[in-house]
């Protein structure tokens, strides 16, 4: 690092420190005097970090825009990627969609037995009801395994626990929803900025959650019907049939729109296969998550630098 850069860095740090102090000072007359000193210091530190983050973004913007070397635009293949779905999660999704496809193919004809295609599916393709119901039960076991697996995943895996925490709906999701509507209706210039999971993704997740509970619960009653009451059987059958249709339509219309037919990803988003998002995709779809990642990385680098310098000091 040459001296000029070093000086500029130091100066920038100084300015940020002064600016933080100025902000805190400006707020001083309005702060409740009973507020503990540490609380104010904590907030001040946050302000500093935020200013550092913003200035980093501005710096990288300047560099990428005016540097003579432009690797990012000229070699997009080398764009940095981020893991969105881990190997475990992708495996869950694969087992799930294989099960669900079989369940739909063997289940839907029984909801619409009067259609010629239904009879064709069951009698010609699967070779009779005996086979199709067996396949339905095998696929059902697959789905139950996914359910148990996922519950284990969100309980015991670090990434699962974190993601489940982030999946829980919060008030800002409602705000984001209305923000999106306003944006669609042209009342706002841009959509809301999402974190790791947008309200749409949360909806998808919880819809599947509800669907799994209803389908597995009612399906088990239908499977082991002899143990239950006929009235409960009737309810389970109706719920199984209706929720099955709802889930199928939601998958075909909503999920396929998002991951297949949406002009942005058409013909298919490959995240389910490789689990990766490119930097620009991440920045575009999950800007808050992106900011968090960048911030955390920067902090880590700083921490390492600090450690190095303290190590050097103690050595000397």
């Amino acid at each position: 690092m040459d001296e000029r850069t070093h000086n500029a860095q130091a100066k920038r740090e100084q300015i940020i420190e002064d600016l933080t102090k100025a902000i805190v000072d400006a707020a001083q007359p309005h702060i409740d005097p009973s507020t503990p000193r540490e609380e104010i210091d904590k907030r001040a530190k946050e302000i500093t970090e935020r200013l550092q983050f913003e200035s980093n973004i501005a710096l990288s913007e300047l560099v990428t825009r005016f540097s003579r070397i432009k690797p990012a635009t000229e070699q997009p293949a080398q764009e940095r990627t981020y893991i969105r779905f881990g190997r475990n999660f992708r495996a869950q999704h694969m087992l799930m969609f294989m099960s669900v496809i079989l369940l739909i193919l063997t289940g839907m004809p029984l909801k619409f037995p009067e259609f010629g295609i239904s009879k064709f599916m069951i009698v010609t393709v699967f070779g009779g009801l005996q086979n199709s119901t067996l396949i339905h039960r095998i696929a059902a076991v697959g789905l139950i395994i996914v359910g148990v697996w996922h519950v284990g995943y969100i309980a015991f895996s670090r990434m699962g626990r974190r993601d489940f925490w982030l999946m829980i709906p919060r008030p800002h999701d409602a705000k984001d929803f209305f923000h999106t509507l306003m944006y669609y209706l042209g009342r706002k210039p841009s959509g809301p900025k999402f974190g790791r999971f947008s309200f749409i993704e949360k909806f998808d997740y919880w819809a599947v959650y509800w669907g799994m509970v209803v389908m597995i619960g009612s399906g088990l009653i239908l499977w082991f019907k002899e143990m239950f009451n006929k009235g409960l059987f009737d309810i389970a059958r109706e719920a199984h049939s209706d929720e099955g249709l709802l889930a199928t339509l939601a998958i075909i219309i909503w999920h396929f729109y998002n991951v297949h037919f949406n002009p942005e990803v058409f013909p298919m988003s490959w995240v389910w296969w490789n689990g990766k998002l490119t930097e620009s995709q991440l920045k575009h779809h999950h800007p808050l998550e992106y900011a968090e990642i960048i911030n955390a990385e920067r902090k880590e680098v700083e921490l390492r630098a600090e450690k190095q310098s303290t190590g050097a000091e103690s050595e000397s």
Partner: protein, 347 residues
């Protein structure tokens, strides 16, 4: 001259035939006229002319049917009368004939006869011989009220069972003419084995056959019997399995029986609360059936308010499905619309 010859010939023919008829009756009109078989069984050969006189064939000659009698005394064993000598399509005497005989030939009875079964019925076994009446005559052996007895002549145990069933009681005791006799379910000349896939009482067709009366258009509703029995069956898993050509699942008869169908409150009924667990629990159906599984209401229509909770579950899912999909659809349309707008503005 020729005219005179024709006339004489005609008179001679008529005279001869009357004479022939009278000649048969020389023996057969004697009330005690009979013969003894080698087994010692005595067979009456007496013919009551009044019975023939009241039959649809009154006026026909004995030899019109018993064509193998050409001399008197005639052969000891005569061939069975072949009705098709007159009852064929386009016959000049106007004997009624459709494709019924062909149907009979394909039926279980026709095929048994063709296969040489001496007990299998030919026309006169069901329709009667000297006493044959027009099918719309109430005295006919084939009249609705008489049919069970006629069939019961051979199928005696089935007749005994049927007579005590809800259908038998209604028809034979209460004279409810809408109640089914044998032919209502089994058909007439086209009668087939239950295992024959084209038969009206084969598993594939049984619900259709019962539905003639117990379906939406059926006559059963006239008597306060629910007319949604076949539609609720078709919507049930059993009914759907049948539509998928699976014949191992229950049809109407599997639970209700067939010749022995009885009303639910009859303690002998297969669907009486005392017997329903055994009925559902047949070894090839639901052997593990519990009491609470079997004793619930069958033939439930989820779209009927009377079905209780199921009705509200159905409504709930209808609203949930329409609401969710409408919402998602609107979101997609808005998203596409916004995208199009943005790409038009060149971004």
């Amino acid at each position: 001259m020729r005219m005179r010859v024709t006339l004489i010939l005609f008179i001679l023919t008529v005279a001869a035939s009357v004479a022939a008829q009278e000649r048969c009756l020389i023996c057969h009109a004697k009330p005690g006229f009979s013969r003894v078989e080698e087994t010692g069984r005595k067979i009456s050969l007496f013919i009551d002319t009044t019975i023939i006189g009241h039959s649809v064939h009154a006026g026909k000659l004995c030899t019109d049917c018993h064509v193998d009698v050409t001399t008197i005394p005639h052969a000891r064993e005569l061939a069975p009368v072949n009705c098709r000598r007159c009852h064929y399509s386009g016959n000049p005497v106007g004997a009624p004939q459709g494709e019924l005989y062909d149907q009979y030939a394909q039926s279980v009875h026709g095929q048994e006869v063709a296969g040489g079964n001496p007990k299998a019925p030919i026309c006169q076994d069901c329709h009667g011989s000297h006493d044959i009446k027009s099918h719309d005559s109430p005295d006919s052996r084939m009249a609705k009220m008489n049919r069970p007895k006629t069939c019961g002549g051979c199928h005696i145990e089935i007749y005994a069972t049927y007579r005590e069933s809800v259908h038998g009681v209604a028809l034979l005791r209460d004279s409810v003419m809408d109640s089914p006799d044998c032919a209502s379910c089994h058909g007439e000349h086209n009668i087939g084995r239950p295992t024959d896939t084209t038969s009206q009482v084969s598993p594939a067709h049984v619900s259709q056959t019962c539905g003639e009366c117990h379906g939406p258009m059926g006559v059963a509703s006239k008597y306060g019997i629910k007319s949604d029995r076949t539609t609720t069956f078709e919507d049930s898993f059993h009914g759907i399995a049948h539509q998928m050509e699976n014949r191992t699942v229950a049809n109407c008869a599997s639970c209700h029986g067939f010749h022995d169908i009885r009303p639910q409150d009859d303690p002998k009924s297969s669907i009486n609360t005392a017997n329903i667990v055994t009925t559902c629990g047949q070894s090839n159906c639901h052997p593990e059936a519990s009491v609470q599984f079997a004793s619930g209401k069958i033939h439930v229509d989820p779209h009927n308010k009377e079905s209780g909770l199921v009705y509200y579950i159905t409504k709930f899912f209808t609203i949930l499905t329409i609401g969710t999909l409408a919402g998602l659809f609107v979101f997609i349309v808005l998203d596409l619309f916004r995208r199009a707008q943005r790409s038009r503005s060149g971004k």
